[in-house]
Amino acid sequence: MSENFNIEIVNPERSFLSKENVSEVVVPAFEGEIGILKDHIPIISFLKPGIIKVFIGSDVENYYVDDGIVEFKDNSLSILTSSIFNLKDIDKNRINNSISEAENELSKDEIDDQKRFILNHKIEVLKSISSN
């Protein structure tokens, strides 16, 4: 029996990625990273800024997401996100832009704790990407 399952990543404009031979996916869920293997129980969770790792055979593909929702059911994983890009073709300038945007947002007074936490986390992740 194969240990593979389906993944589909969609953003509002199009279907971003659709693969049928994924062995493991790690998603940055809100309360920590979740690794999903075949026959995982059905789960719905939402994402915080971070990296989605998709394992296909011995290859790993990395994607950065800002936010999103992940649903796993019947061995198919759907990720809905409004902002996603492949780490391979990411643009350093864009990362730096996002960092300064997030820092700007953070300096405003009226944001609540949860948002502050997410923004801090986002900056951290983006910085670690850009330093690699």
Binding site: V10, P12, E13, R14, F30, P42, I44, I69, E71, L80
Partner: protein, 290 residues
């Protein structure tokens, strides 16, 4: 009767109009293909979003304290209508169909004593509504700069809506747009997005999900996104409809111009012939009298 010169001028002016409508038709056809593609590509997202929300809302434990975006404010007094139209004209009945639909809804609301607020997206809708409903329009949003419908714009509208909802400026929100069926048919739609209407029949899956964190929190996070998604879907459908409607309108216009040119040409030829005959008669009768 019009002189030969006048007829000639009219023929050439109709011909140049025909050239314009023909060009517009071609452009619309090319744009339509792209708009249709992006409408189709955008469908999986909104479908999946819908599915997840269905699953979530059926699993929600505490119906009383469900997020307001889902259950509503408990009142039904202030209605906000989001009317999505195009920024350009010359697209047949596209804009007027939406406006007609919206107006009949507005009338129903005012008859039952509800308070009406309107947000228009696209300048054509604003132009048509501002005469009768000037006091009701609270905002006019236009995306003239962006070429295609994009999620970023839809998200902006969504955020405005949510902000207004949280400030308790309205209880119910309905959006109006044209649904693209095919090039000839576009169906004006009204769709209530706040509070979310859930189709009971679609509630089929009895899957037991694990939620992380809990349902309420996920719903709270998801519902605002769903608003933007629905608006985006409406915008995509609208842009495909606009191009389709423009294409068929311009096709008709081109055909009509062709007919008109034919008619005018016949008239032109007849009167030219009449003038020649008249001259001949004059010459002959002149010769006879000598």
């Amino acid at each position: 009767m019009a002189s030969l010169d006048d007829l000639k001028k009219r023929i050439s002016s109709v011909k140049s109009t025909q050239k314009i409508t023909k060009a517009m038709k071609m452009v619309a056809a090319a744009k339509l293909r792209r708009a249709q593609e992006s409408a189709e590509r955008g469908r999986p997202y909104s479908q999946k979003m819908n599915n997840i929300i269905l699953n979530l809302s059926s699993g929600i434990s505490d119906k009383e304290n469900a997020p307001k975006l889902l259950s509503g404010t408990g009142e039904d007094k202030v209605h906000l209508c989001l009317v999505l139209t195009a920024d350009r004209g010359l697209c047949g009945g596209f804009n007027s169909n939406i406006i007609k639909k919206a107006k009949s809804y507005f009338k129903k609301l005012s008859d039952s004593g509800k308070i009406l607020k309107i947000i228009t997206v696209g300048s054509k809708g604003y132009d048509q509504l501002k005469r009768a409903y000037k006091d009701n329009i609270i905002e006019n949003i236009s995306f003239k700069e962006s070429k295609n419908a994009n999620y970023f714009d839809a998200d902006k509208v969504g955020k405005i809506l949510i902000q207004k909802f949280e400030q308790k400026e309205f209880d119910v929100c309905t959006i109006f747009y044209n649904q693209f069926k095919n090039v000839i048919t576009q169906i004006p739609q009204e769709q209530q997005i706040i509070p979310l209407k859930i189709n009971e029949e679609e509630k089929s899956s009895e899957e037991n999900y694990e939620f992380e964190p809990d349902e309420d929190e996920i719903l709270g996070n998801l519902l605002p996104k769903n608003i933007s998604t629905q608006i985006f879907k409406a915008m995509l459908e609208n842009s495909a409809s606009e191009q389709g409607s423009r294409m068929s309108a311009m096709d008709n216009a081109t055909r009509n111009a062709g007919e008109m040119v034919d008619k005018l040409t016949i008239q032109y030829n007849r009167s030219r012939q009449a003038a020649i005959t008249k001259e001949l008669i004059e010459i002959i009768s002149g010769a006879e009298s000598l």
